[in-house]
């Protein structure tokens, strides 16, 4: 090794990480070069200074690990939501409405097929198609208007009753309709919060049948801005 190489390695000689052979060579070089010992002293002074923790240096937050656990919990929850949206466990119940990519044909598609099969739609003259569609549209609008009367509280109790909740094996069944702007993640949070599970649905009006552990969450569900319909199911 030449002088420059020795000089370069002084720092690791000082911190004790040189290999045996390198250390032996360094010992010999230092013995022969008094000026190098001065440089070693400087390096050792640097080492002592760097290794020393000054009194005013910031310390690691003692709650750091708890914060880390909270971060991990949050990320795992997010991941769970994403995985569910990609491959839901109960795809038949959740995916058709909330992902916007239903596996089954949509209502319009089903209606079109029904028209085709019932009226031989492709053979029907255009003016007749318009008349039939207009009639169905009128019926649908009137029916919907009657079925979904004015609402002001953000949800609607379709039955209008306030009696004891329907219980099946100790649970309560309710029909729920959700605001269209509600996301899948919000729906899942809502269901988890109230320990609810989807029994069936959605029907063509987007109503789900939900099972609750008991009647206690009904008040909170009514107050939830994401719930627009709520009806207890009678036994």
């Amino acid at each position: 090794m030449n002088t420059e190489t020795f000089e370069e390695q002084l720092a690791w000689y000082a911190n004790g990480t040189l290999g045996d052979a390198e250390r032996a060579e360094m010992d010999a070089w230092l013995a022969e070069h008094p000026e190098a010992r001065q440089h070693l002293a400087e390096v050792e002074f640097m080492q002592g200074t760097v290794a020393e923790v000054a009194a005013d240096e910031p310390q690691l937050d003692p709650n750091g690990f708890d914060q880390l656990m909270a971060q991990i919990d949050a990320q795992e929850q997010e991941l769970e939501v994403v995985e569910t949206s990609v491959a839901p466990e109960s795809a038949e119940e959740i995916e058709p409405v909330w992902t916007g990519q239903p596996e089954k044909p949509g209502f319009v598609q089903q209606l079109r097929e029904w028209f085709e099969q019932t009226f031989q739609w492709s053979l029907t003259p255009a003016f007749a198609r318009v008349a039939v569609v207009a009639q169905f549209a009128l019926v649908a609008v009137l029916g919907t208007a009657l079925y979904l009367p004015q609402e002001e509280a953000g949800y609607e109790v379709l039955s209008g009753e306030t009696g004891a909740a329907t219980a099946i094996e100790g649970a309560v069944l309710v029909d729920l309709g959700f605001n269209q702007s509600m996301t899948l993640a919000q729906l899942q949070v809502l269901l988890r919060t109230h320990q609810a599970s989807i029994v069936s649905g959605p029907n063509t009006l987007g109503i789900y049948r939900i099972r609750l552990a008991n009647a206690e969450p009904l008040t909170a569900l009514r107050a939830d801005s994401g719930v627009i319909y709520l009806q207890r199911v009678e036994p």
């Binding site: 911190n15 990480t17 001065q38 440089h39 002074f45 200074t49 923790v53």
Partner: protein, 195 residues
């Protein structure tokens, strides 16, 4: 659990458990390494709040990627490598006080006079100021060598650069500080070194 080999073996076991989402193992690793990672980061960027965040970023990355750890380097080297990578990303756009290689310390530090420096503690405080003014590249080599006690091959792994680059950076860092040390009157005797 005294020897370095025992510690390394223990840490490998922790990583294997972390790969299986064992939070107890993560806690053990955190207790051993979070203070070191914090010290490394805080000395690089002097931002306590950000340093606290970066420590958890590093630990989160370990949590997520433990299953991919192949043991090609020591656990400690791997962790400091992650810390260093994240710190460099964090300091991009963040301009600490840096000193160029060709700048003389005499031009920038007029705060002290050797005749007024009385104690070793004063000397150390002044040297710390000078160290803080080194570039990030030089400071990290100095920190990893003198605070964390890594060998130059280990530092090369952490910094992902050739060993010669590590040596060169240390050499430049020392040259940068030497005139300052001489000006402050740090001699072999003052420093407690070989007379």
């Amino acid at each position: 659990m005294d020897t370095a080999n025992d510690r390394a073996t223990e840490e490998l076991q922790w990583i294997a458990r972390i790969a299986e989402q064992d939070r107890t193992a993560l806690k053990l690793l955190y207790d051993r390494y979070a203070p070191r990672v914090f010290r490394f980061v805080i000395r690089m960027m002097k931002d306590e709040a950000r340093a606290q965040e970066l420590v958890n970023d590093v630990m989160m990355e370990i949590w997520k990627s433990a299953a991919k750890f192949e043991g090609r380097s020591a656990v400690s080297t791997w962790i400091l490598g992650i810390a260093r990578f994240r710190t460099l990303n964090a300091v991009r756009g963040y301009k600490p006080e840096l000193v160029g290689l060709d700048e003389s310390p005499e031009q920038e530090d007029h705060s002290s006079d050797v005749s007024q420096v009385k104690s070793m503690e004063q000397l150390r405080a002044l040297l710390r100021q000078a160290l803080d003014r080194l570039s990030v590249e030089h400071r990290e080599v100095v920190e990893l060598t003198f605070f964390h006690g890594y060998s130059y091959p280990e530092i090369a792994v952490i910094l992902d650069c050739p060993e010669n680059t590590v040596k060169t950076r240390m050499f430049h860092a020392r040259n940068k500080l030497r005139p300052w040390l001489e000006r402050q009157g740090v001699s072999a005797t003052d420093a407690g070194g070989v007379p």
